[in-house]
Amino acid sequence: MSRRSARTSALMRGGRTFADAFLIRNHVLVYAVGICPIIAAGIKLSYGLLLAVATALILIPIHLIMSLIGSRLTAWLRPLISVGIGTLILTGLGWVVYRFISPDLFTKLYVFFPLIAVSALVTNRAGVSSGPTAFGEATLDTVGSALGFGLVICVVSFVREIIIYGTILDRPVNAPFTSPVAALPFFAFILLGLLAAFVRSLFSWNGGDRKE
């Protein structure tokens, strides 16, 4: 195989890995992983954006660190290390949000930071990859997962904010109606179920749900 076609094939493989993790086999919609913050906190787009950033901020560094040292750790130590690193990062993020962004936002959302740190989305990603190709694809997979989670939480938060408050990012919009009922967890569960079915129908996935 020539170098050019090898590069093209690697790019296509990488693109497919990213698309799989981002949308086609989005972990939230396919395996219902990490849905707790979406259900409880996804009622405003600003909350969704903050939690999406928090997830990306811990998922990507943990993947990079565990790729370097994960193979040297025993199996029972890996979740401990990944949760510990995630917690330290989120404590720092909490301080930044409290000091520089909005103390009110931190007060509302600090309950969910540790839930993101222990989410299966994070601990299941704390795997080991060996070799540059595996590392590259695993990195794309991790970035795709982080962005995929962000996409889902932002879509759910966007819809719920419009229905609950008639606003987007606290700016009023001409919503045809508002209803506080959308703030309840059942609405988020149903919205997630419909989103999951929609994405599945788009890609006509026949694999069935993987048991984790």
Partner: protein
Amino acid sequence: MTVSFTALLLCLVSAAFTQNLVFTTGFGSSELMRVTRQRHGFSLYCAILTVFSLLNVLIVFFVMRWSGASPVARIFRPLTAIASAMVLYLIAILLVPANRNAVFNRIHRLLPSAAFNSIVIGFPLFIERQAITDAATALVTVLGCCAGFYIFGILLAEIARLMDHPDIPQAFRGTPAMLLVLGILAMALGGITPPIVLL
């Protein structure tokens, strides 16, 4: 402040059913969907989850009482909940070494996901948000929550089998249908008692 036995019993029942954390806040919903698919070891998983939840809420409850409600204490609250869970996990790893016998092996495999379950981590922060001020109520509430997790897990395991039925449209089979079922259950339970407001 002493709490009567009747109040504690009502607390236990409401935490198990009408105000179950899974359906009122979404805590533990991912783990519930995951373990109901696995079917084997669910009872053992719930037992380990209950032990971790009780111990973690006890530790964090007293740390919260000692540290107070200042902004600095609040910033470190999530760290406290997780640090306590990590210590408990380490102790459990030392007490239940792998490769000793079949039971220890099963427990060892379930330890990470039980120790770092969002109920274990989120509940101590939830009790602060709900202003639960005595340890007995906190312990009974978490016991009820874990009992409800077990009962609804058994129910959902049966429902999960039905959600793979060929009569269900392909797009809804499996996870989408389970999410809709959870939504309908949450709607039904939300109609019985006022919802818990976290935000």
